[in-house]
Subunit: 492 residues, 2 copies
């Protein structure tokens, strides 16, 4: 298989699919819609997990683990939630296989081993968790409960794409319980903020924080906060959501607490999650026609060293220099790999590390040995320079920070130049067709208008930005009064 990717301008979607597979991030599996996350892709996901997990713990959360299965009777308890997910549920109906009497060597479901009650493979865990919380919560002393779970979930999507939409995906889901509405609302906002900070600081992806309209809200939520990012092709991507669930789940599962004054009341709830979908956002924000571009904060290897040699003697000398560089870099907390594979030539190694987005590449050849230098190549700008060994660690330390910032600023500039304010529906359609990106427009606040615009343009309201101007106007479609602009876009 050629390492060369289809260019983004030729076919963005094809470019994405090829990149994911060729950079060894993930691939399709034998199970419809389920992916295999390959070691390199998983290593990036692990970096994301580690940072997020730290941020969750710093904000007072603990991890726990709840069952994969949700009995049907619990699943259907919160009606809106059930309605929202019923159409895409994998359902376990049997608990045993047996030899197929008609087909020797084959197995079939044992008809005797039918479950009394079907089990839904969790598409999200509110139901099983709130059923558990009922036993954990008696009084205000038991609150708040601040729990997160790292888990796999299954949503039987019909059209799937690696990382972006898969039948099984990995995620974290926070589920919290509070005494008051104000506390729960504050938690939902705090966690959306955590997601925004993570996206911007570690993923180098600028995001807009906002709330979803009713039609885009999580099934069972009173309010859904979100972070929305813009991909290079001008389509938006929902990168994380944090839901204020009101007392919906507490009521569905009868979770009450006794207040300090002895009054019984339903508990207030939030839930919030990000998933392996973030991998898709990462790829489509920074990468180029040569492959993946990784922000140093999330690169499994921030630096790779490639030796260029003809004799074993040269290799020995290069190895000695490489060892020195590695120990200096590691002392600074910089991750580095010495790619001394003998099965690949330097050119093939260069191509692979470029495709896989290693932020900095060091090449050391005989000339470098003589001069006390190395060649340092930067993945994001594809520029090279010669650096003397004395300054190498400092240079690399500074460059990694610079790359992280550059990637963010570049993405920010692209995003900001792709937010277009429009006043008419003609302009609206024109932007969608020619410029793409977010459209900032007035909306009359009705479901009907939102639906009609979606029908006509495929654009949806990505969010009502939290930092909305109090600018009154008229709806871009209906001409009715509007209290402020919202962000429309075509979306992943």
């Amino acid at each position: 298989m050629s390492k060369k990717l289809t260019s983004r301008s030729e076919d963005y979607s094809k470019w994405y699919n090829e990149l994911v597979v060729k950079a060894d991030l993930a691939e399709n599996s034998a199970v419809r819609g389920c992916m295999v996350i390959k070691p390199y892709g998983y290593a990036i996901w692990e970096k994301m997990q580690a940072e997020l997990d730290r941020m969750f713990k710093e904000t007072g959360h603990q991890n726990a683990y709840f069952p994969l299965f949700v009995p049907k009777s619990l699943f259907e308890a919160e009606e809106k939630n059930a309605e929202g997910f019923a159409k895409e549920c994998a359902v376990v109906t049997h608990y045993r296989l047996q030899n197929d009497p008609d087909k020797p060597g084959k197995l079939r479901v044992d008809p005797e081993a039918k479950l009394e009650e079907e089990l839904v493979v969790r598409p999200t865990s509110e139901a099983i968790i709130w059923n558990t919380y009922r036993n954990w919560i008696q009084s205000y002393r038991d609150l708040p409960i601040l729990i997160n779970q790292w888990a796999n979930v299954v949503r039987w999507e019909m059209r799937t794409r690696l990382f972006l939409r898969t039948a099984e995906f990995l995620w974290q889901e926070g589920h919290t319980a509070h005494e008051t509405k104000a506390e729960a609302l504050a938690e939902a906002k705090t966690m959306n903020n955590v997601y925004a900070t993570f996206a911007e600081k570690f993923m180098a992806i600028p995001v807009v924080q906002g709330v979803k309209t009713e039609s885009e809200r999580f099934a069972g939520a009173v309010e859904t906060y979100c972070i929305e990012a813009l991909m290079q092709d001008g389509k938006a991507l929902q990168a994380g959501t944090s839901h204020f669930l009101g007392q919906n789940f507490a009521k569905a599962f009868d979770v009450k607490y006794a207040s300090k004054e002895g009054k019984q009341d339903y508990v207030w709830a939030t839930s919030w999650g990000v998933s392996t979908r973030l991998m898709g956002a990462l790829i489509m924000t920074h990468s180029d026609d040569n492959g993946l571009v990784l922000p140093p904060s999330l690169a499994p290897n921030q630096v790779v060293i490639v030796p260029i040699y003809k004799s074993d003697e040269d290799l020995d000398k290069i190895t000695e220099v490489a060892n020195g560089i590695m120990s200096d870099l590691r002392a600074k907390g910089i991750s580095v790999k010495f790619d001394n594979r003998t099965t690949q030539r330097p050119g093939a190694k260069f191509a692979q590390h470029e495709l896989q987005g290693v932020p900095l590449r060091i090449a050391i050849g005989p000339k470098d040995l003589a001069n006390g230098t190395v060649e340092l190549a930067r993945r994001d700008t594809l520029t090279k320079s010669v650096v003397t060994l004395d300054y190498l660690t400092t240079t690399i330390n500074d460059l990694l920070k610079e790359i992280q910032e550059t990637l963010f600023n570049k993405a920010l500039e692209f995003r900001d130049s792709h937010i277009t304010e429009v006043e008419t529906f003609e302009e609206f359609k024109d932007v969608l067709e020619n410029k793409t990106g977010f459209i900032s427009a007035h909306w009359d606040g009705t479901n009907e208008t939102e639906e009609k615009i979606k029908e006509l343009t495929k654009a949806t309201i990505r969010c009502i930005p939290l930092e909305m101007n109090d600018e009154e106007g008229v709806c871009v479609y209906s001409g009715k009064p509007s209290k402020g602009r919202v962000l429309f876009a075509k979306a992943y």
Copy 2:
């Protein structure tokens, strides 16, 4: 619910169940046989994961993620493996729910949404992984593949117990592919060694390394290495297994590689795993009638500080002292928590931390403030001493090491004093009934004898120890010749 546990001598099994629930480790869920791992239990599991993950990476392994589901046709490809797990498989047959026309407000499986091919919820992942490896392996250059996965698996067990045997459990499963038989064998042994080191060094659990007999082998393995531990009630517990799979899966999934010489051959395989079952082993090795006893290496909090005060002024002073202690301990890498909850009295806090196995407890009261001392209580020995602040950090640092060693040595002494060599079947039965523990006895090497002994005594061959004496003898049951002793026991 009373915090007091049933004593071990009264009812070991009841003691275990009560401890797991009351120490907030885990509880049963609404799903038959599936547990909820509560935050405190999960925090211990996270410590185990972190150490194991580090050890796997240090031995050259990378993490990846494969689908939860195994299509039936792949599941049945390796016959012995399929046969071994078919009887306990949860099976997904449908992918959608719909409103039940007969029961308003209820859902039912949509009969139109039946899967063409049933999906088995993975009981183990050899099938789906080896089906993937076929595409990853062409030549010797692609080998070895050294991959681990952290995942949930489902085995529909009829009798379940928290941590020890649950329908869903968390585990890691390594799956490696090699050029030669020798390499694969070496890998299987290396990983069994890693497990033994982890058990002894971090869990403070002495283990016997050995191989399983044919009847106890993993379904589809050529050889199963294992680590076997002894619980306080004299029953054995299999704590980890590492399988040499030969070419069985390579043949079932047609995974061949071209050697350096261009010859095509099937790949050699291993798989190895440990699970949340280790939590059960940890509990049943060290804990006592007062609750959990944790080795410091795996304690979420190694030290807890409880303030004893009557006035806010005293609390302020104690807080100041506690902050100093915490900063000193944390600088040494010791984890510590200041339990300044106002909802609980000191006595209740002491009881809770004892029940939850915190290795060291510091109490600071007004007298201590005056004297520049604290009271230091050790969980494993239930002893207390008064320590001056100047020596506190050093004392704690030393004590944590001492506790870790003491726990291991105590368990080792118990284990070693519960390995009994017997020569006759009368002695065999007598030990099982009165002394319990491992029985070291000669066995004729046949399945029949093993089966017969199991039938008569419920004891099974836990392993053929790797460090087996080359002592010839006669089988304890059949009187036929034997080449060495094996370890029998009743087991979890």
